[in-house]
Symmetry: C2
Subunit: 337 residues, 2 copies
């Protein structure tokens, strides 16, 4: 029987579920509201129900599932499969999510941090293909990320590595929601980019964003990039400050883990070359002159599917094919639940 792999991307609002073959080709996918306020058991039930419906609708048998991978937000004990806490899912405290999912599906299951799962998806099937060392940033409301060295995700000693939005780049600068001062998230996330534009306009700066603010009552990050592309000086300056902060992040990551490729993902990359060209400009301006650097800075290619692909990819490593001919699979030691 052809094995299939389930990849789950659990978010505070929505949960995405994908069904993949062993080559990580997408067979079908679905999404559901998470309803995190109903608690972990109910959420796991919703995931199980949605996955069953997805299989039935696509004439697939639950028997064919080889393994399941789930990416979830918040600090976790990955080895134990436990979500410690999650800012957007207050009822998820010390939840043995891997065990719960594994029992619901009756299959070996792997738990990963959501940003790491998306990072792994881009690494195996997206913008990171062909390299062994990669850094991944998600630019959204906040900034998250993942670090891969020598083909492996860096987890850190307590599974909380790659909190890349909280790298300090401007000490004594803007306050960050995390309690630190000068985090890159306070400069270059969608929220902070929009906030800086609103502050400048509120402070009397001349800009085409001024009318927009009066009209809509708010400025979004997308507005800033659009007005920047249209030539507004203030929007250009804010865009440049965001790009410069991200470029400094790239310089720093190069000097730490020396990735071959740095991949930006998340809603903000819709800005396209308006943003990417400026990140590259500031990277070239900031980087040392001791040697020529060849790191590639690029945008992610998998969009919102990165998380389910990465989770499914991690699931494929839970079992190994005994032989390419007879199609039997066995659980791989050390990974199974």
């Amino acid at each position: 029987m052809r094995k299939i792999f389930i990849g789950i991307d659990l978010g505070g609002t929505n949960v995405k579920i994908g069904c993949f073959d062993s080559q990580l080709e997408l067979i079908c996918k679905t999404a559901a509201t998470t309803k995190a306020d109903m608690g972990p058991e109910a959420v796991v039930d919703r995931i199980g129900d949605a996955a069953e419906k997805l299989l039935v609708d696509n004439d697939l048998s639950g028997e064919a599932i080889g393994a399941v991978g789930i990416g979830a937000p918040g600090p976790a004990k990955l080895d134990e499969g436990i979500i410690i806490a999650s800012p957007n899912m207050p009822l998820f405290k010390n939840v043995p999510l891997r065990k719960m999912i594994s029992e619901r599906f009756g299959k070996p299951t792997v738990l990963e941090n959501d940003a790491n799962a998306a990072c792994w998806g881009e690494f195996v099937a997206g913008a990171g293909r062909g390299v062994h060392d990669m850094v991944f940033f998600t630019l959204g409301t906040g900034i998250g990320g993942g670090v891969i060295t020598d083909g492996k995700l860096v987890h850190g000693f307590a599974d909380n590595a790659a909190e890349l939005g909280h790298i300090i780049i401007y000490p004594d600068g803007r306050k960050c929601g995390c309690g630190q001062t000068g985090c890159v998230e306070a400069y270059a996330s969608a929220n902070s980019t929009a906030a800086q534009a609103a502050e400048a306009v509120g402070g009397g700066a001349e800009s085409s964003l001024k009318e927009l603010l009066a009209e809509k009552g708010e400025i979004t990050c997308r507005d800033v990039f659009e007005h920047s592309a249209a030539g507004d000086a203030l929007a250009k300056r804010i865009t440049d400050e965001t790009a410069k902060a991200l470029a400094i992040l790239c310089v720093n990551m190069l000097h730490i883990t020396e990735p071959q490729r740095i991949v930006f993902a998340g809603g903000m990359i819709a800005a396209g070359d308006t943003l990417l060209s400026r990140i590259k400009h500031y990277f070239n301006e900031q980087i040392w002159s001791l040697k020529k650097e060849t790191v590639e800075i690029c945008f992610a290619t998998l969009g919102e599917d990165a998380g389910i692909i990465g989770a499914a990819a991690l699931a494929t490593s839970l079992i190994t094919r005994d032989s390419s001919d007879d199609g039997r699979w066995t659980n791989r030691k050390g990974f199974v639940h």
Copy 2:
């Protein structure tokens, strides 16, 4: 026959050579001037001669050598065993140092970056014992370092990872010798700490360092820390700025690779608690409040021997003992020259 392992720490001025047993206990050591201006062949000869004399003086046989490890400065292709260039050894350009050392000793040899070798030494036998994830900084004329995740040195895609002195922490700040602006090396190395004190005194600041400068014609980093410990306000401020820069570095590394321990080494740690207590103070002040962090910040314990111990430790992994009884060893696949 009891196997011995040679660890070599090659510097621009001196080369240190240590002889260790398979448990990394130091048997004997020596040092020689490098004479890098005589070229790579002459330097390798000097190393070989010094090692032979060391063995003879200690009644050891060259036959007993299991493998050799060498840590060397400058960018390298570690897999190929080649030193690409070295700022303090201008004649070392694309030198196949591993092959040259291996041929001179007639033994399998491993080449590592010098800061990585010292990092590995502290990891296996010093301040990093007992952890799997560690970050290592050397505070000297410049700032170097090493990163270990999940028990392995991070090398990066072209073997130039962990150039930790060139992490930018103050964009638009002090110029660094590397061509970047605001590197931590421009704030917290021995040279830059001394330079900042001299600049302040030269600018008319009141300080007990003023008389010292008039008397000696220069201020060293050690002077700054000594006058800080004695209560001088300017020296205290400079010490605090150095400590704060290092604390930001610790915060950033925690959010990237999440080490369990951060180890500072190099000449500057002679300052002892005058420096360490301030680094910890600023770390606690700067770190986020989202969760309690337990990373340990401490000083190295192996002193100048870290490099030879680390190089010897890397050498031990070149060969494996066939059996604990008959004492035969074989080359381990993939590592030997």
